[in-house]
Symmetry: C2
């Protein structure tokens, strides 16, 4: 869908973004439009373009050729814009209700133009402000069951699946996860960022061979298991929500990866929020975790029974094996995520936003302990166990 | 390296094969050459071209656009010729002593021109005729340790590895294995081919949920684990040997797959040969199996310690975990291979060549029993246990 006269990548400005949407007839030539850059500015430009009279609006998202989080020195392939728009369009085949509509994409410009969701709130911010999003877990469970099942070998002919694996090879973005989630936090690496008050616990982690062994095995799964097209970055900052609606955004980290990864990231970020709350306020988060798994499990099972093309799909125990492995991996991936969000490069506001230093350090110490427990007990922790696990880290 | 004026694929003849090698200056224009088509004719044309005066010779191998084994109705991508020559050239970087030299390849013609190894014997035929190949296991163990280690994430930067995964996506040939090794033999499928005297055992297999569950899990590993560039078809018919030399040929099934697959196929084919021999003659085959694993394990360990780029490579227990998983998977893959070579589409001469019907049926019944045991006991069978396992299938 490239515009034939846009042959060279240039970062858009508020003015050129408006020109683009008009050229594409997404707005009429004579409409009066307002354009604001609203991105958090790490990896992308995000323009919101609004006709203030009709309230019609849309989002123009453009990838930048570097990660701003560490300055311009970390170059990133613009191909991630294509990965993102391709992934959104594949997800929309199965669960259009849970992703923004894509109106246009251009690989050269690294641009995706999509539905404006700014009437919703980023769920991390909402959770921090006390929102509970009653349908969040129902929706995320359904979202994951559909995208994972329908992009896996259980539902796609092997040749077609292998072409998708190729299409979604995503070295730059995977590398960020390989380093920042699975490697650096477990070593004395200069990307790490932690409060000096945690040094004792962090150094203990670096010397904990049993925990590092589990991290190594999970990293290997991330590097080598091409089960399904995963979102790749499904934390609560990648989900827009209100009480009735859930929209998963930003799948620029999408690639063919292990079934449990997205689930693990999501669960971890709910746990990180729980650690920021007093015990009596955490209950709805454990309910969300249990429900995410329950909905995932029942939905995946329903799709498997309805649409599996795998000859062994009726073999006794096979579906249960796949589900069990997915949950156990999710627990392990959650362990890595909880740890890296506490001491690695990219933190979460749930913990960093605790203003009292002692309370903040306590929450972070508990996060480290929790992450280690998740890594060490992947095979035995059920969704129901997580509440007790968090609460005994006091 | 394509010849610019060969833009269309045509099957070579003995005459055009000679023209090709002369045009490439692999022989002089005025040399008198003899050319014979010597392929077994399943998937490829194989021309041996010889100057009878100088004894200089080489092999011109050309992929056919279909599998002759099931008639022309099974089309196969010519891209496998590129896969084969690319794989041979990658293997040659690490273990040139164990693969034929490649002189030329052309993707359009689907041709690879390589070293003539006809002074050696296909090791399956040699084993059947009573040869023992004293260095076979040493060489195969070294071959596998090198190619698997050096093409894995343990040795290659993740971006480069992902490009290789892409380059070696091999849907047509993988599909043959997915169907004929991992699926059809476990179901009443029309590709199966077994003697009527085995029907009772075969039907029991089709109803054995525990065995089918293990086959399903192994098939999933084959479909989704991109650990390293594997040969993909490493049975004893893919290995040329004499008492001093071993050369692995035909990696047209190569792709990024699980570490244990090649090892499992090789071990399975030694076990199939053992089943064709009286008990007192089998000893060297078990020695070969133990030695293959021992050499693989020590060589892989040495390379890991010397050249691993993985941050966790020094983490206690990680190398051992990788090795243990590789062996356990190999046992499982060996189980699938033993079964499919007995009742699936592609048999082995080791068993089919037993002329006495009762002896042949007994050997095949034992193979089925052995295959099931391998599948059910992947986690406990050590290399030393295989002798007893075979011998108690009587």
């Amino acid at each position: 869908m490239a515009l034939s006269n846009e042959l060279v990548y240039n970062p858009l400005t508020e003015i050129t973004a408006i020109k683009l949407v008009k050229k594409l007839s997404l707005f009429d030539e004579n409409e009066v439009l307002t354009c604001r850059e609203i991105g958090d500015g790490n990896l992308n430009l995000v323009f919101q373009i609004v006709n203030d009279q009709t309230n019609k609006s849309l989002i123009v998202k453009q990838a930048l050729p570097y990660a701003k989080v560490v300055g311009e020195s970390w170059p990133l392939s613009l191909n991630r814009a294509k990965i993102e728009s391709d992934a959104l369009q594949i997800f929309a085949k199965y669960v259009p209700q849970y992703v923004p509509k894509v109106f246009y994409s251009d690989d050269t410009l690294a641009v995706t133009i999509m539905e404006d969701l700014s009437h919703l709130q980023i769920s991390r911010a909402g959770l921090i402000s006390g929102k509970q999003y009653p349908l969040l877990s129902q929706h995320v469970g359904e979202f994951l069951a559909h995208i994972l099942f329908y992009t896996s070998d259980f539902a796609i002919e092997p040749e077609k699946k292998k072409q998708l694996v190729k299409q979604f090879v995503n070295p730059d973005l995977c590398n960020i996860t390989e380093d920042l989630v699975f490697t650096d936090p477990f070593f004395d690496h200069d990307t790490n960022d932690f409060e000096e008050g945690l040094r004792k616990e962090v150094e203990a982690l670096w010397n904990d061979q049993a925990v590092k062994l589990e991290a190594a095995k999970l990293k290997k799964k991330f590097l080598t298991n091409s089960d399904a097209l995963i979102h790749g970055d499904l934390h609560t900052g990648s989900i827009f929500a209100d009480d009735a609606t859930t929209k998963v955004i930003d799948p620029e980290f999408a690639f063919y990866g292990p079934l449990g990864f997205d689930l693990g990231q999501f669960v971890a970020n709910l746990l990180l929020n729980a650690l920021s709350l007093s015990e009596e306020k955490q209950g709805f988060l454990y309910d969300h975790i249990e429900k995410t798994w329950h909905v995932f499990e029942t939905t995946f099972t329903k799709l498997w029974k309805k649409d599996s093309i795998e000859a062994f799909s009726k073999t006794e125990g096979y579906l249960q094996h796949v589900l069990t492995q997915t949950w156990q991996d999710a627990i392990g991936f959650a362990g890595c995520e909880v740890i890296r969000r506490t001491i690695g490069l990219a933190h979460v506001a749930d913990l960093d936003g605790i203003s009292n230093e002692q309370a903040r350090l306590t929450a972070k110490r508990r996060a480290l302990l929790l992450g280690r427990q998740l890594l060490l007990h992947q095979e035995t922790l059920s969704p129901k166990d997580l509440k007790e696990l968090v609460q005994k880290t006091v």
